[in-house]
Amino acid sequence: MRIPETGGWRARLAWPWALSSRARENLTAYGFLAPFLIVFAVFLVYPVFYSLYLALHQVPSDSYDVFSGLQFVGLRNFAELFTDVKFWWSVLMTMYYAALIIPSGIAVSLALALLLNNRLRGVAIYRSAFFMPYVLDMLVIGIVWTLIYSPHIGILVRVFEAVGITAFSEKGFLGMSTTAMPSVVLANVLKGAGFGMILYLSAIQNISRSLYEAAEIDGATPWRRFTAITLPLVKPITFFMVVIGTIGALNAFVEVYAMTSGGPSVDVGGRALGATWVTGYHIFDTFYNQWRLGYAAAMSYVLLALTMIVTLVNRRFLGERD
């Protein structure tokens, strides 16, 4: 938006060096912007292009110094990606992760918001309690959950044993390929729900009371009022939650690092793959453990493409609303 220029300052143009007022405005503005723009250019813009350069190169396997001997390999990294079972498995696991975390995250956030949307004393304290985990470190939360999920003597295994379920005792929740991903997701949902809760709460409180009153007069049950009034009117928040949930899944790393390191191993057609081996973790592993910078950079471009697709699809949806 344009801010209309107001008079008064032109009178002060008696600078020793005679720049036009416009040039001076520009100079001042870019002076203020300089620190930000320099860091932005060097560490946020340049890397995107440098990453492409890296993606077209590879570190020779016998080279210890990863940068001295980068070899140009053209599109070979990208070609390799297409036949890399482990990579596509990671994409599949990312989709699985997203499919679990998005609906459960939305459900828990919405449930908490509905609980808070009541005139009760002390509601603010509960609101803070639900939000607090969101600001804390995922790594720490993941490490605490590994303790809770531990096999044999972990607290959760014991709780299940107390009601006669011993299926998880031997390997623990993170050690079984069936429960590992849902367990990672549960830890993450409980950490992050406070954020969605605040968004839902403010959306719900913006809904006009008269809508509910009219529905009540018409004899609508509370459930019907929820599905016919609340849900449709908080739809923009739900869309937003789906988008950030998808982007979060594409970037998921710390939770997996802290809890499972991509495991436990599952046998898929004779190959050992990880039950929580998401793409974010795969990129990290390729780069940090295998030192294949070029290949990891190529993967991050696929990640970028996927993110762009998600964002564009979302924009289409949001665009329809306006």
Binding site: T6, D137, I141, I143
Partner: protein
């Protein structure tokens, strides 16, 4: 407002629901603290509260396992980074809110687009750049790459746009230069948003685990989360110590949140959804 009044029974049910939800959400933190106070080797004892609570775990991680040093590193990195990131975003937000300049709209769109790039994308090239600069294993490697906070710039701009231009013009008429207008008019009027951004960037850098893991490979530069991750892989079985380290790691942010939760909640959800 659709806030409903509830009957006595309804009230009890609601409180029960809220309390159960709070217990579930906060259980990991409760368990972390309880375990940190248990006797070494008793991490898996079934008792809900330790019968013989001890501070030994805390003193051991701080002295024997270097968490004192890690904590100091975290404080240095998070404070410096938050300070500069907030300064940079404040200056940049100001001109986007209050000035006309060459390429303003294009630059703004460009910044908007950059927000869509996934964080994972940056890990490899940023690491390569840090390597080329010869910055590996330095504080500046941990701090500088994340000082351009685009989201922070948007927060600033949005807030500063609500400050009336007349106030700035009045100062200019009184003979204030550009820098004085910014320092004496804009900054004092923007204190709430500056405080918010400082807290958010401090929190971001305190939790910026992946990046710190990658660029700090020597023990003396580990931040608390990196130290914790290293400790975790080296001493998988020392759970009471791990939980003491975890407590130390989350404590500062938990305390900040306790005192400044309004800033955290508003800052983090502001701009999340366009009205």
């Amino acid at each position: 407002m659709s806030v409903r009044r509830t009957s006595a029974v309804g009230t009890v049910v609601l409180y029960a629901g809220l309390t159960i939800a709070a217990i579930i959400v906060l259980f990991p933190f409760f368990w972390m603290v309880v375990t940190a106070f248990k006797q070494p080797g008793q991490a898996f004892s079934a008792e809900i509260l330790p019968s013989r609570p001890t501070l030994e775990n805390f003193s051991r991680v701080l002295s024997e396992f270097g968490f004192g040093r890690y904590f100091a590193n975290s404080v240095i990195v998070a404070t410096t980074a938050a300070l500069f990131a907030t300064m940079f975003a404040t200056c940049a937000g100001y001109v986007f809110a209050k000035k006309q300049f060459f390429m303003k709209d294009k630059l703004f769109t460009f910044l908007l687009i950059s927000l869509m790039i996934p964080g994972m994308m940056y890990v490899v090239p940023q690491f390569a750049i840090i390597n080329k600069f010869g910055w590996m294993d330095t504080y500046r490697a941990m701090i500088i790459p994340h000082l351009a906070n685009v989201f922070g710039l948007f927060l600033m701009r949005q807030y500063m746009m609500t400050i009336p231009n007349e106030l700035l013009d009045a100062a200019r008429i009184d003979g204030a230069g550009e820098w004085q207008v910014f320092l004496n008019v804009m900054i004092p009027l923007s204190i709430p948003i500056i405080a918010t951004l400082f807290l958010l960037t401090f929190q971001f850098h305190w939790n910026n685990f992946l990046w710190q893991l990658i660029v700090a490979n020597v023990d003396r530069l580990y931040t608390v989360p990196v130290g914790l991750a290293m400790f975790k892989s080296a001493h998988e079985e020392l759970y009471t110590l791990k939980m003491a380290g975890s407590c130390i790691s989350v404590l500062p942010i938990a305390v900040l949140f306790f005192f400044a939760q309004r800033y955290f909640i508003e800052g983090m959800t502001m701009g999340a959804v366009k009205e």
